[in-house]
Subunit: 155 residues, 2 copies
Amino acid sequence: MLRRTYDGQLCSVARTLEVVGERWTLLIVRDALMGITRFDGFLNSLPIARNVLSDRLNGLVDHGVMERVQYQDRPPRHEYLLTGKGRELMSVIVVLMEWGDRHLPLPPGPPAMAGHTGCEGTVRAELVCDSCDEPVPATTVALRVNAAATPNPQP
Amino acid sequence: MLRRTYDGQLCSVARTLEVVGERWTLLIVRDALMGITRFDGFLNSLPIARNVLSDRLNGLVDHGVMERVQYQDRPPRHEYLLTGKGRELMSVIVVLMEWGDRHLPLPPGPPAMAGHTGCEGTVRAELVCDSCDEPVPATTVALRVNAAATPNPQP
DNA sequence: AAGGGCAGGTTGCGTGAAACAACCCGTGGT
DNA sequence: ACCACGGGTTGTTTCACGCAACCTGCCCTT
């Protein structure tokens, strides 16, 4: 998705998108979170070109979202596993999924859900105010610039 | 970010990314959530080309994420306002921001935060299990295919 | 020993979307 | 008459994507 980079953008959103904002990247992460680990696995799951998949996996490894692990010797074969950093993208996948389910529904219903391992519950994302300490609707949330952290760009 | 579309992908994540997954789109939404409404406002905030901004705003209007509202007559001028559907993308922005703050930190600290309007609290995103009814770490969440909703592809 | 299959890529080529710059249009100010 | 402002549209170039072909190591069959 990114031609060059989002440089000049101090925002954490922009910096996150530099890692996962390219075309296919978040779908690769989604598949990894569903348990796919191998090159051909991603290739079968997504209508993506091999060279682009190779690019994206290398990028994710470079950014520490995935790691490349050898799983056999002869011939050497590796799989791509999410790191902790990568598994924490679960929140991103869940909110994207929820927004799609709510605003772009499919007739047969949601094709996938997030489940809590161990118990059979489903997992949802919530915005929580740490002062009220309870869930708040998205419409009562505002983005505020943190003045202390962006003093002034040097001339 | 998307060259063609993610067609063939039933997933809600893919369908959401068709709406907001292109380069710049989520940054435009972020700026809109921060209060920017006009063409030149976005242009000043982002290093984006005018034609690309025009494309993205039209796409967001087509998808019902924003609406184009006239705010003066002579000469006719309009502003771009988020719809309810658009404001619900706040969750997406918040989780992207949190992931960036945690895993790609900047020396001066987080450049922005999400705040609860009315009270002075800051807002965070949480994954909540509706069975346990309490927050769960991302690492204990798994994506499950909803078999009932994806019966079988026709042969 | 020759061939086929599988896993995991790399290479080369063509196209179309993004970046950039220039231009346009209607109005209001001087 | 001229310039500035807000809000775009129109070229032109460049680069990332999509596609197909090819390569490498190893194993299995004939």
